[in-house]
């Protein structure tokens, strides 16, 4: 999807490329993020997500292409664009010797916030992130989830209109992840433009308006969640487990149900896929007549994960394991 005439482009990326030695980390990607949008960058580790964030925030320079952030050419004048952005890096990188409160005040200071403003905002954020009771404790003594929450708080300390988050919920506890997602929704509702990278498909589906699928440094597809899911809407998959999988009569079944696509999985199950509804009762009866003893027949909801797998060719397991990135 491209920008409609009424929407204004907040982040405009055109043909950026970044090479490290003989590895092409980002390979000529282009996309636009509109003001107020929550845009997701979904891909496995090594796909180029962090490099893209580094390029967009001025931590790296593109070898080719242009980057506009908030109307400023970030490839030429990153410092000017840095006034507008907040960044939550993939690793919690605050100062272990300082307390949570001191860390936030320091981050506010970097953006020129006055002492009074810093204190008020730090107190507000510590409360918002459930860290008030630990505000005077050193950052070094925080748990992983607490560190992550404080790192996110540091990223929004100066009220940035544009926020970049690099895998904000990776490796943290369920409660912290929930809190983070809730906060991102709130910031989005308040009008913050959010660029989020993740390898959690569900998270991207739950939060983002549009998603770009990234693999091996290239954008494979960019679209809204609805549009991405439209090819699988109405389609149905049924997974059938039988007691004697070796004797599964797939050929005979295909002849009986010509509208269905049949496939035997590695673990001996039968996967039945249809553009419409799968008639499970008929299927089970037929299997029974053919001598296959059905133990379980289960409808499977097609999700964004299935779309990702079909579009990128990268397995969902590889996405979660961090494989499938740039070799």
């Amino acid at each position: 999807m491209t920008a409609s005439g009424t929407e204004r482009v907040c982040i405009g990326v055109s043909g950026i490329r970044k090479v490290f030695g003989d590895v092409v980390a980002v390979d000529g990607i282009s996309f636009q993020v509109m003001y107020g949008e929550l845009f997701g960058f979904l891909g496995p580790n090594g796909a180029g997500k962090t490099t893209t964030i580094h390029l967009l925030t001025g931590l790296a320079r593109p070898d080719d292409g242009t980057i506009m952030v908030g109307g400023i050419d970030c490839s030429k004048n990153p410092k000017a664009a840095q006034h507008l952005i907040g960044v939550v890096p993939d690793e919690s990188n605050l100062y272990p010797e300082l307390s949570g409160f001191e860390n936030l005040c320091f981050c506010g200071g970097l953006y020129g916030m006055s002492g009074q403003e810093r204190h008020r905002r730090a107190t507000e954020l510590l409360e918002m992130f459930g860290l008030s009771s630990a505000s005077q404790r050193k950052y070094a003594s925080y748990s992983k989830g607490m560190k992550r929450r404080l790192t996110i708080a540091a990223g929004i300390m100066h009220h940035p209109p544009i926020l970049f988050l690099d895998e904000p919920t990776t490796g943290i506890d369920v409660e912290s992840a929930r809190l983070t997602r809730g906060l991102l929704k709130k910031l989005h509702q308040e009008g913050t433009t959010i660029f989020l990278t993740t390898h959690y498909i569900e998270e991207a589906q739950r939060l983002c308006g549009r998603i770009a699928f990234l693999a091996e440094g290239r954008i494979i597809r960019t679209d809204t969640i609805d549009n991405l899911l439209s090819p699988v809407k109405g389609r149905e998959i049924v997974e059938v487990a039988v007691s004697n999988p070796d004797t599964l009569p797939v050929d005979k079944l295909s002849l009986t149900f010509p509208g269905y696509s049949m496939q035997k999985t590695d673990d001996g199950k039968l996967l039945v896929e249809s553009e419409g509804r799968v008639r499970i009762a008929d299927l089970v009866r037929c299997l029974d007549e053919l001598g296959a003893e059905v133990r379980e027949a289960r409808k499977k909801q097609l999700t964004l994960e299935d779309v990702f797998v079909s579009v990128t060719g990268i397995g969902a397991d590889a996405l979660m394991d961090g494989k499938g990135g740039k070799k």
Binding site: E102, Y111, S114
Partner: protein, 247 residues
Amino acid sequence: MTMKRLTAFLSIVKKDVRAYYLKPPNISWGILFPLVWTGMFFIKTGRDMESILMVLPGMVALSILFGTTSMLAVTVTFERKAKSFERLLLAPVPLGLLMTAKTSGAILFGVINATGPFLVALFLTDLSGISWGVVLAAILMIAIVSTFLGLFIAVSVSEVFEAQTFSNFFRFPMIFLCGLFFPIEDLPRILQPLSYVLPLTYGADLLHGAITGQNMMSFQLDAAVLLFSIAVLFILTLRNISRRWIM
């Protein structure tokens, strides 16, 4: 400098002082190192209390050199390793101002370190003949040039231990070559040109002139070379950061 930039500058200095310089190991290093070395040298050479003035410039310069270069390995290399330095690079603060802020704490630390030898000498000998204005200028310039040397080293390596090792590679030869303890004319002829390449030689000459009146070069020349070295080291460091850290 705008108010916002001044706030950012002061925030970085304050954070470094709190996080690094006010820590017990650094306070003890900052106080004990100059005092112990000074005491040791004074006892060794102090049959005649007047000789203390001959050793004092060396002790002052050493205290500054070791204090500043050691701190940069921590405040820059460690932060770079822990990725917290990225936070600074992401701030809307020009790189020059950012690095000036990062080095200000170390410069201040070096200046404070320099007071140790003077405090010891104050109790042992007469310091009334010292030209304090020149001493202050010398201390400040030595602190800045040593800090920038430490910064240059810290930016050139990726591990804290590398920074410390690399620093020693520069520090120890400098002690013997810059005329602090041995007059340059007494050094082997082949080493003498090397002495004049080292910025500390000019700092030591300034201190010798201010404390004992025995300087080889003019105050103006010493100051000019030190200021030139400061500028070159700073520019090279900014170029290195820009090339190596903003990839």
